[in-house]
Symmetry: C2
Subunit: 230 residues, 2 copies
DNA sequence: TAGTTCCGAAACTCGCCAGAACCGGATAGA
DNA sequence: TCTATCCGGTTCTGGCGAGTTTCGGAACTA
């Protein structure tokens, strides 16, 4: 039972563009309703708690009481913000989407360097948590298009996009052939990691990821581990 | 909570064909309990129904009433055979394991030929059903070692074993290098298929599998689609 | 201080489901 | 035919969890 409440500590609340047409202007707090300025300040804690419980218990194992208790909030507070359990989960998943600035991506000059640069303890832990959450809701993906979309937007697409960029750069600089199947190659790492975590229950550590790059991905594009640039 | 420690001593029929009213158990050393010869004849129907419901509803969505109703059996009949829902599910998963005779494997002389020969409508549908079942229980895999073992033994290992054999043959005949990462290569196809089905919700059809072989697996071992043997 | 708005906690309703108990009927051996 | 065992279906209980309501209190405002 790892608590590991690595709370963002009331960090900046994520983008609020989920489902509510509510306030078109995210920047303006809209002070119209005088009398109170505080508004939904507990949302980040509740969403974070929901993600934690989701990762540990799965969707069906998660109860609203667990979420409220972990967020030190009342169940009524949760229901004031979200009308149902599924709404809460969908928004919690949506706000797992870390903004990936394109300029933040590594650019070492070689495909291998770029791929290895992505393997950091932080990203490993981050991916591991996403996988645990995903494990808890895969059975819902088949039934709920909203869940499917939320998962794809928050977990699958960001990672795939990064890989696509790296492969495209390698093509542009002539390091690998232009007729590589970028789409399939971009999915090797995420899918193998997911399989290893969810099905095999083996750790996705740095060693595994490096060997994946060197013995599968690079050979598949005609490169070798020891020869970064041809 | 799920005891699942000991079988009720009367239900020792782990493997069946599971789809149709079964044949009277070829290798049954059971003394058959004098007084009645009929014994547990409804097991295959119930197990098959359990698999169907599991694939459609997931573990938590599946109820014992659904299973009993689909098998046209009473709920009491189900509980006479299996002490709990988890026991039923574990045995149902276990009996999904199709016996894979090693001599049944294709042997076309080339790795590409062997891999493509495995892509048949029957195997595609079979794998699709296994994936649907797997989707329904992944969240349990993290919590129940028994589930994890059952899934691995019935769905993961058989497929991985086939691929390992094919790659090892290719190594033995000198078609591909001996220092290939057979373990990782054998998992590409299952993991990509699982990812595509469970997360992306795209069909795992023949076209996808062929392109996977030609643009990922074969390039990764230094072969080309058009040049089966170098 | 009085008024307003939100909050946490807890009690409550309602429905679902696992599992057990029960019943009448069918079958087979004695 | 009698009896034992299985079967199918039905019913009951107990617990659990989603969602609602209530209430006292905290925080801010005028």
């Amino acid at each position: 039972m790892p608590a590991t409440t690595d709370m963002p500590a009331t960090s900046a609340s994520p983008e609020r563009s989920s489902t509510e047409p509510g306030s078109p202007e995210p920047g303006s707090p809209e002070p119209a309703k005088l009398g109170r300025k505080r508004d939904h300040t507990r949302d980040p804690e509740i969403l974070s708690a929901a993600i934690d419980v989701l990762a540990e218990e799965g969707y069906d194992g998660m109860t609203m009481e667990m979420v409220a208790a972990r967020a030190k909030a009342g169940k009524a507070t949760v229901y004031r913000r979200w009308g149902s359990k599924s709404e809460l989960v969908i928004e919690a998943i949506a706000c797992m989407k870390r903004g990936v600035a394109p300029e933040t991506l590594p650019d070492t000059g070689t495909l291998r360097g770029d791929l290895l640069a992505l393997i950091r303890p932080h990203s490993i832990d981050d991916a591991d948590k996403k996988l645990k959450v995903m494990a808890g809701i895969v059975s819902l993906i088949a039934r709920s298009p909203e869940m499917s979309d939320a998962v794809n937007a928050a977990m699958v697409e960001p990672r795939a996009k990064i890989n696509r960029v790296l492969f495209q750069r390698a093509i542009d600089r002539g390091e690998i052939s232009a007729d590589c199947d970028v789409e399939a190659l971009s999915l090797i790492s995420p899918s193998m990691a997911a399989y290893r975590t969810l099905v095999q229950r083996k750790p996705v550590d740095r060693e595994f990821l490096v060997s994946l790059v060197d013995s599968v991905i690079l050979p598949a594009v005609g490169l070798r581990a020891g020869a970064p640039a041809s």
